[in-house]
């Protein structure tokens, strides 16, 4: 009833706190689920030029947190399929390219292959987000954050909801 009173007790009111980076907390050992949830969330706020019924996820490289990516269907709001893609393979039939750790040249090549195509690229381990992927995850023991590469997004045919930027940490930003 008295929401104000109830809330004031919960929220440690310090409006001057520094702006935090995107930070999704999770219980230890559930990193993979957290990654799947985040990937699905990003997909849900991304608009492809052609509407699609199923989100086709392609995983490439030595991804460490991609085992539960099929769970992304829940946050993405549509069914999701996951398949492996060899490094350097053409991303045909992919709506979302999940890049695990690989050499920068390989990574660059794979991302270049997505240019001009409606493929959302997410890098698993590029904390500075300089590799050219649209989104870059930063997974630690208990929290997950992601950065967003505005240049990459603006070059693609995909449209990302600007609200995601608020949650994300801008690549190259002073954060």
């Amino acid at each position: 009833m008295l929401l104000a009173l109830a809330l004031s007790a919960i929220v440690p009111g310090s409006p001057e706190a520094p702006i935090p980076a995107s930070d999704t907390r999770f219980a230890p050992g559930t990193e993979d689920s957290a990654v799947a949830r985040t990937v699905g969330g990003i997909a849900s706020y991304t608009r492809w030029p052609e509407p699609m019924a199923t989100l086709r996820i392609c995983v490439s490289g030595a991804a460490r947190h991609a085992d539960r990516l099929s769970e992304a269907a829940r946050t993405a709001g549509r069914p999701a399929t996951v398949r492996r893609l060899g490094i350097g393979a053409a991303p045909n039939g992919c709506d979302l390219l999940y890049l695990g750790p690989m050499r920068p040249a390989e990574s660059l090549g794979m991302i270049r292959a997505t240019h001009g195509r409606a493929i959302l690229s997410i890098a698993e381990s590029d904390p500075a987000c300089r590799g050219g992927a649209m989104f870059c995850l930063a997974v630690s023991a208990a929290s997950l954050s992601f950065r967003i590469n505005i240049d990459a997004i603006s070059r693609s045919t995909l449209r990302v909801d600007p609200r995601v930027q608020r949650v994300a940490t801008l690549a190259g930003g002073g954060n």
Partner: protein, 409 residues
């Protein structure tokens, strides 16, 4: 029954009536404006909260999706700062708020603020948070009644100010009306009072500026004029009646009653001041014979002539009176002694020596027999003086010749 001091004055009545009328008008107008204002303000405030809730729900959705409370707080912070919002809370699937932002509300402490809050925002406005058509949470916005409370406070203050203005305005209005109604009425009342107490029948009420009152004034003044005329006539009649009661109609001389009155006054004064005065009695010689011989008209003419001649040579303070029949009396006012009596007697004898013309053309000479009494020599009181004068006259009357005929034509 209430006395005049308990009755309200015209001005009080006017002021009261004006105040009531204006109070009702102000109250109706003020209440209407206030209620319409409340209703409109309430609707707008609610719409504002709903809009803010929807905006918050929209901008907080990704934060809920990515389970990022800090981002959620950042998203709702600017919205929570907007006026009319006391706080915003975001709820995820769990009962505990996912993120919240509470603004301190100074109005929440005041009673007006509490009333406004419970009137307009009894419970927070909620909006669902959706992602791709799926409800993933809820945003609740608590309204801040500070603006409404301010409006109520301003309305009450305005109403009070209006009442004050009303009181002043009605007082001024009543004063103006009083000048037009009460002042002429008071002037009329003052005139009426002056007439009643001071017999000032010549006073008139001044002109009034209101038709009814001026008509009343006209009638009042006309009534006063009639009253004045009536009063004068009454006074004249009274004077005439009183003259008739104290004077002899034939000769116009004071009668016995008036003489006795005068005598008492003169005696009183003489006693007080130690002066002397004289009383003369006169009786016509052979008057009965004139009556018998020439008729009563002739007798009357003789009496009139005697009266006129007696008056001659007297001072204004002296009194010549007819006691009845052919008996006369003369009061020589103080200071008058034996010499004055002698002088008066000589003067009267001289006057009476001239013949009196009768209506029939005949002429007769009528003598007067005198008797005198001088205070205090001949008596200390009226009875003694009268007796002395009467006795002296009777003595003198013995062997006096009757009237003489002055040659008949």
């Amino acid at each position: 029954m209430a006395g005049p001091t308990q009755l309200p004055s015209v001005r009080q009545v006017l002021s009261r009536v004006h105040f009531r009328v204006t109070l009702v008008a102000v109250a109706i107008a003020g209440l209407t404006v206030m209620l319409t204002g409340f209703a409109a303000l309430g609707i707008y405030a609610r719409q504002n909260l709903e809009l803010i809730a929807q905006t918050a729900s929209y901008s907080v959705a990704p934060a809920l999706v990515f389970e990022d409370p800090d981002a959620a707080r950042l998203a709702i912070e600017p919205l929570a700062e907007s006026p009319g919002v006391a706080g915003i809370a975001v709820f995820g699937p769990s009962a505990r708020p996912f993120a919240a932002r509470i603004k301190s509300t100074p109005a929440a402490g005041s009673s007006i603020g509490w009333v406004a809050k419970s009137l307009f925002f009894p419970r927070p406005v909620a909006a669902p948070v959706t992602q791709g058509g799926r409800v993933i949470g809820e945003v609740r916005v608590e309204g801040d009644a500070a603006i409404v409370a301010g409006y109520i406070r301003a309305g009450l203050l305005g109403g009070l100010a209006c009442l004050l203005l009303t009181a002043i305005a009605t007082s001024l209005l009543a004063r103006r009306l009083q000048e037009e109604i009460a002042v002429p009425l008071q002037a009329m009342a003052a005139v009426a009072h002056a007439v009643r107490v001071g017999r000032a029948f010549d006073r008139r009420a001044p002109r009034a500026s209101i038709r009814e009152i001026d008509t009343l004034r006209d009638d009042f003044n006309a009534l006063l004029a009639e009253l004045e005329e009536w009063h004068h006539r009454m006074r004249d009649e009274n004077a005439a009646l009183s003259h008739q009661a104290t004077h002899d109609p034939l000769t116009g001389l004071p009668n016995r009653a008036l003489l006795e009155q005068e005598l008492s006054a003169v005696l009183e004064r003489a006693r007080r001041e130690g002066t002397s005065f004289a009383l003369l009695y006169a009786d016509g010689d052979g008057f009965k014979a004139i009556n018998d011989e020439y008729g009563h008209a002739a007798g009357d003419a003789v009496l009139v002539a005697i009266g006129r001649r007696l008056r001659k040579g007297l001072r204004a303070s002296d009194v010549a009176a007819r006691l009845g029949g052919d008996e006369f009396a003369i009061l020589l006012a103080a200071p008058s002694g034996a010499e004055a009596v002698a002088r008066a007697s000589e003067g009267i004898a001289l006057q009476m020596a001239a013949p009196i013309a009768l209506p029939g053309g005949e002429q007769v000479v009528v003598g007067l027999t005198l008797g005198a009494a001088v205070y205090p020599r001949d008596g200390e009181d009226l009875a003694a003086l009268v007796h002395h004068a009467d006795l002296e006259m009777l003595t003198a009357k013995q062997g006096r010749p009757q009237h003489r005929k002055e040659g008949r034509k």
